[in-house]
Amino acid sequence: MYAIIVGADRAGEAIAAWLINVGHEVTVVDRSVAKCESLEDSFGGVAVLGYGAEHGVLAKSGANRADVLIAATGMDDVNLVSCQMAMYRFSVGHTIAVIQNAEYEELFQNLGDSTVINATKLITDNMMSALSGIQEENS
């Protein structure tokens, strides 16, 4: 499988490392020079410097042969446009968008048929189940 990951914050980098370790081909797009250099040091030959919502950057990343694009920057607008660009300009079959603002979940699903990972909801759900465990212990 060939995967493009847009945004190499903690989650993006961890997913890249995991995909590489299980034998997949990965390119990571990030707009930070320092981040791209550290990715090159860790994995070699995987980083593309640039803005993932940019057509030229996705082209350079080999989007036309990618099986999946994961948009995991901290900016929901960039993640949305990256997924739409991958889908409608490069015919990438699967896109996964990370969102911080929970209210975008339905919109993003409808707009690009992306799998949406609602980061805020994941955290609050985990928080609530942890809290209800504590509550039971104390009741």
Partner: protein
């Protein structure tokens, strides 16, 4: 998701603009002259200094500090009654997000967005937005001026 109220013929059309940079302010004044009632939203209050003061006092232009990509802030404007939504911040991705919210969540009939990048412009035109890029017309003007 949200119910629209039907506008009557004689009402002046309501336009919501996201972004009060030079372009947003200029469009606000242009549509004001066409008889629109304008609501303009920007995260920076100081950007509203670009607007003429008379229409603000008379209530035909209403500036609102807020983020045009957030449902709650858009709902502080009459987005559900707006005929036109225009996203003209400086960032393409912000404009694309706001415009698609206006079209798909609030079902604004006429949604226009600024795209600096001609590639994104072409894509969003295909996806049903009136995407407008200044790059091509500006280039044509410069090329023509350079020939003289």
């Amino acid at each position: 998701m949200f119910n629209r109220t039907e506008a009557t013929e004689q009402d002046s059309p309501i336009t919501v603009i996201m972004g009060c940079g030079r372009l947003g302010a200029s469009i606000a004044h242009g549509l004001l002259d066409e008889g629109h009632r304008i609501f303009i939203i920007d995260t920076q209050g100081s950007n509203f200094n670009r607007l003429r003061s008379e229409p603000i006092q008379s209530g035909t232009i209403t500036p609102l500090i807020g983020d045009g990509t957030l449902y709650a802030d858009l709902l502080r404007t009459p987005i559900q009654d707006a005929q036109v939504f225009i996203a003209v911040s400086g960032r393409d991705t912000q404009n694309a997000l706001a415009a698609q919210i206006a079209k798909h969540i609030f079902e604004a009939p006429n949604v226009i967005c600024r795209m600096n990048d001609p590639e994104r412009q072409a894509m969003f035109m295909e996806l049903g937005l009136s995407a407008i890029s200044g790059i091509k017309p500006f280039t044509d003007l410069v090329v023509r001026a350079a020939k003289n």
